[in-house]
Assembly symmetry: C2
Homo-oligomer: 211 residues x 2
DNA sequence: AGTTGTAGTTAATAGCATTAACTCTGATGA
DNA sequence: TCATCAGAGTTAATGCTATTAACTACAACT
């Protein structure tokens, strides 16, 4: 088997370049600013040439969303594997988000009413959740069960591993929603004017999580 | 002083109609789907005629954002004035959001990098926060101060009323961020597949708030 | 060496926002 | 009452945007 790749390799190369330009545009001016025309101009190509690499604007965006999820999942898993505790994990995610806020919003921002992410993308999303649940399984189960805990007992089919306690699932959900709550408002600039440090609020919110 | 209004009244009437069509479009297909062309068609007008009423697409969006903030502030204040407790307040906000998710995202969704809301709009946003702080001042101050609490002591100039305790401010922030965390993920559909009831998660998250 | 697929082109279509220049009409002041 | 003036609405034009179709040229493979 010789190098049957040169054609395919070039293709992947160009696909990557297109995505890079797209990422830059989104990072600078948001998703609405993503323009195939602008990308083509930057690459010294004509616009229709881009259609050789992506079916259209939507497929390009979908690819970017998938990449973003992949990057987040890898980052979170790497941190968890190297023994980061929940607080450290939270700050790893925050750092990832702050490095490129629009990438975070690409994943967790305003949804487009019609749009449904392809199955492989939601699978990656679940990966993140699985890591969070695992990270939360270190702490034990609570002695007193809250209403939601009881509710979760009978609504946790979506969790892959049966071995993990419902308390861990519940804490993972708290972790995720609390972190996202602070982080998304911070990234969206809703705290500007209020001069406190969002990182400290996160610390506080997650400290209470252990209770 | 006679009826100097007919002209001005008609103007306000049309401005309202334009906004209504805009709201419908956004509710159905998101902000990117907002099209002046479509609005003009629905109103049997030509597109440039709309420019008599709004400087352009951006000013129309700004007006919608202001209206959304106004509606939320009024809703929250009304609930608070009629003696709703924190949990009830949370569900009032959730109901408001679920009635028109895209309106919620218009306010708290993905930000446009360049965009800064006009001062009068951020003022309304502060109104909401003030109500939340007041609602949280009913509960007393905690005996033990967390790190963030201490931090907040010296970073609360943005709070109008000096009489309210820092604990109330901290709880208001927790309330807001926890609610937004769950709500925005729910509205964005990130819980679909996980079959639990987000309302119960909110109850749980806010129950822990009292601690 | 000829065939075939792929990258790239040009040309065309259609939708979008925005501005300029114009017309008409209803209210207002002399 | 009539002239004026402002505002609503029009048409026309500009310049973006994405998308599709039809074509060309080249490079790989048989």
């Amino acid at each position: 088997m010789t190098e049957q790749a040169p054609r395919e390799r070039y293709r992947e190369q160009v696909r990557g370049e297109i995505k890079q330009h797209a990422r830059n545009q989104i990072a600078e001016a948001g998703l609405p600013a993503l323009s195939l025309t602008a990308i083509a101009k930057q690459m010294s190509m004509t616009v229709p040439a881009l259609y050789r690499y992506y079916r259209g604007r939507d497929e390009l965006i979908t690819a970017l969303i998938r990449d973003a999820f992949r990057s987040l999942a890898d980052t979170v898993r790497a941190a968890a594997d190297s023994g980061a505790d929940l607080l450290a994990l939270a700050h790893v995610i925050r750092d990832w988000a702050k490095a490129d806020p629009q990438r975070y919003f690409l994943i967790y921002g305003t949804p487009v009413p019609g749009y449904h992410a392809p199955p492989d993308t939601t699978a990656i999303s679940n990966e993140v959740m699985e890591v969070l649940i695992q990270a939360n399984s270190a702490l034990g189960e609570p002695e007193s069960a809250t209403t939601f805990h009881v509710h979760l007992e009978t609504h946790r089919e979506w969790v892959d591993s049966d071995t993990v306690g419902t308390g861990a699932v519940r804490r993972a959900l708290s972790f995720w929603t609390r972190l996202h709550g602070v982080l998304s408002l911070e990234l969206a600039g809703h705290f500007t004017g209020m001069k406190f440090d969002p990182a400290l609020l996160i610390d506080d919110e997650l400290a209470e999580l252990k209770a």
